[in-house]
């Protein structure tokens, strides 16, 4: 049987060393790489396709959660973090495990055994668990102040202030911003719920607009209005959307 390929993602060297040390007592596990930030991790995950990652949450530039958003087929995840405020209990059932730093060798072993079961056992059972986790993360997310997107292996961090508007495209949304256009695997409903209410408004089934980007709102047809943005985009507003717009402006 193949060895389980593992990736350690943490910005603190001693924290990575500890995981590495704990792993030496296991057979059939191979450490593919150590990464000290989300950028390195994304590249390494795409290249090495690990079975399991040890993931810290608070890291420079992008958090562990944001990294997860960028993965199409996330591996099994064991969170390792000093933060206990992320509604841990809810995730514990979905991520393989959630290790609170500092954690003991026994607790670590428990987590790895759980992961091994999922990986070598029923592959199918594992996948919904991870996407479940992603859904739960979305529910827990507060107001966004940035969005991470990805072009190939390049990560773009988009501050919400620089977003012009968001357009729905089937199962994805296209984010138009000062940084360019980026496709993201999220729903309009998610963005409507998590973008700051004071500066974003849904004007149409398929458009969410940054209010500070609006140049003018013109009458277009009988029940429709045209919203014109600084970037030049002209977007239709539904009757409902126009009403919301008028209330806000």
């Amino acid at each position: 049987m193949d060895k389980i390929k593992v990736l350690i993602i943490d910005d603190e060297p001693p924290a990575r060393e500890l995981v590495r040390h704990y792993l030496t007592s296991f057979h059939g596990i191979e450490i593919a790489a150590e990464c000290e930030n989300g950028f390195e991790a994304l590249r390494a995950i795409n290249e090495m396709k690990p079975d399991l990652i040890f993931l810290d949450i608070q890291m420079p530039k992008i958090t562990g959660f944001e990294l997860l958003e960028l993965l199409q087929e996330p591996p099994q995840i064991i969170f390792t973090t000093a933060y206990d405020e992320f509604a841990i209990r809810a995730f514990e059932k979905n991520a393989v495990d959630y290790l609170l730093k500092p954690f003991s060798a026994a607790r670590f072993q428990q987590a790895v055994e759980k992961a091994r079961l999922r990986i070598t056992g029923n592959q199918q059972a594992a996948t919904p668990a991870v996407s479940n986790l992603k859904n739960q993360l979305e529910a827990v997310d507060g107001e966004l102040d940035r969005v991470v997107a990805r072009i190939g292996s390049r990560i773009v961090v988009i501050p919400v202030d620089s977003i012009h508007y968001i357009e729905s495209q089937d199962d994805y949304v296209m984010i138009y911003s000062a940084q360019g256009n980026h496709l993201k695997e999220k729903t309009m409903k998610y963005f409507e719920a998590h973008l700051p209410k004071s500066s974003f408004i849904r004007i149409h089934r398929s458009h969410i607009v940054n209010i500070s980007q609006i140049v003018s709102v013109d009458l277009y047809g009988k029940d429709t209005h045209m919203v014109i943005l600084k970037c030049g985009a002209k977007l239709k507003a539904s009757a409902e959307g126009y009403k919301r717009l008028r209330e806000l402006l």
Partner: protein, 354 residues
């Protein structure tokens, strides 16, 4: 506040002595009474009123004026007034007739002046009661003020305590995780780190009152903090210090420097993938110590909200301790963040309320 009123206690008999004197003078000059009778008359009438007055004092003191309506107060004083005056005049009369052995001439004079005496008694009663009310009101006012002041002091202190930076649990748990790691990879370093952490905690927890600290102590605390962070972040964290040994005795509030350095660490190294530096320097300028803390940061990092509480707490504490605004200044250039503290010599400008 009780001492305030008990100081007035000797005045009470003195006042009655004066009243008795006036009484005596009126008797001798207006009614041409002989000295012996006038003395007895004035002594008996004033002494009895004086004793009654003591009873009235307690009556006023223990009646809860705030709970009674004006009408009730009136009715109460008309009855107590009538009773007091009757008691006073009646007992004086009986006593004096007994003492003077039924001196008919004197008794004639007494009944002639009865109306005047009773009117004077009523006036005296009103004045006495009014003065008592004023005194008690004044006492209540002082008590309330003292209570408010002590409450204000408590509030001030608890506010200062809550503003004093608390150790962040994340810092602690991450540091402990590093220790856990070092115990297997490098035990001597683990021991060193535990000692650093203990010293750091000891200082952080040692300031329970409004005591002051020195630059040396504060700097030592910051060094411990940075040593711990260096273990966590390794080569990525660079620190540079520049200050004269002669400034080390400068007095400053405890736990001022560390939250600012922590701020620098948070915005520097926590949010950057490369190296991050922190510079710390101090110079004396007249009666002020100018402390500058600067750090570089990644301008592309989109920092999370809800930071900067450490900085704003330090600003608030400076305002409360020194009573001067603008002692803390913040500058932000493209990729450098600078905090400038201007610390007055302690004992010159600190706030007077403690």
């Amino acid at each position: 506040m009780k001492t305030n009123l008990s100081k007035l206690l000797p005045i009470y008999p003195a006042v009655w002595l004066v009243i008795g004197g006036v009484h005596y003078l009126i008797l001798t000059s207006q009614l041409h009474l002989n000295i012996e009778l006038a003395l007895m008359d004035s002594m008996v009438f004033t002494a009895i009123f004086g004793v009654l007055g003591v009873g009235l004092w307690f009556l006023v003191k223990f009646s809860d004026v705030e709970k009674l309506s004006l009408k009730e107060i009136f009715i109460r004083h008309i009855t107590t007034g009538a009773v007091s005056i009757t008691l006073w005049f009646g007992s004086s009369w009986l006593l004096l007739t007994a003492i003077t052995a039924h001196n008919t001439e004197y008794i004639q004079m007494l009944s002639n002046t009865m109306i005047v005496r009773i009117i004077a008694g009523i006036l005296l009663y009103i004045i006495l009661i009014t003065v008592f009310y004023l005194l008690i009101n004044y006492q209540n006012l002082l008590e309330r003020k003292a209570r408010e002041e002590s409450l204000q002091g408590l509030l001030h202190e608890s506010e200062l305590n809550s503003l004093r930076a608390q150790i962040k649990p994340h810092f602690l748990f991450n540091a402990l995780n590093s220790v856990s790691s070092l115990t297997v990879t490098n035990p001597p370093r683990a021991q060193e780190m535990v000692i650093n952490l203990s010293e750091f905690m000891r200082y952080s927890l040692s300031f329970s009152d409004n005591s002051m600290s020195t630059l040396r102590q504060e700097l030592n605390h910051v060094r411990l903090y940075l040593e711990i962070e260096k273990v966590r972040f390794g080569e990525r964290l660079l620190v540079e210090e520049k200050m004269e040994e002669s400034l080390m005795h400068w007095t400053l509030p405890p736990m001022i420097l560390q939250p600012l350095i922590e701020n620098a660490v948070k915005h520097g190294i926590y949010d950057s993938t490369g190296k991050s530096w922190i510079k710390l320097d101090a110079v004396q300028e007249g009666t002020r110590l100018n402390l500058t803390i600067s750090n570089n940061f990644d301008p592309e990092a989109v920092t999370k909200k809800g930071t900067g509480t450490g900085l704003s707490n330090v600003m608030k504490r400076f305002r409360m301790i020194y009573g001067i605004n603008h002692l803390v200044q913040v500058e932000k250039s493209e990729d450098i963040f600078t905090i400038k503290l201007s610390i007055p010599e302690y004992g010159q400008n600190q706030s007077t309320d403690h």
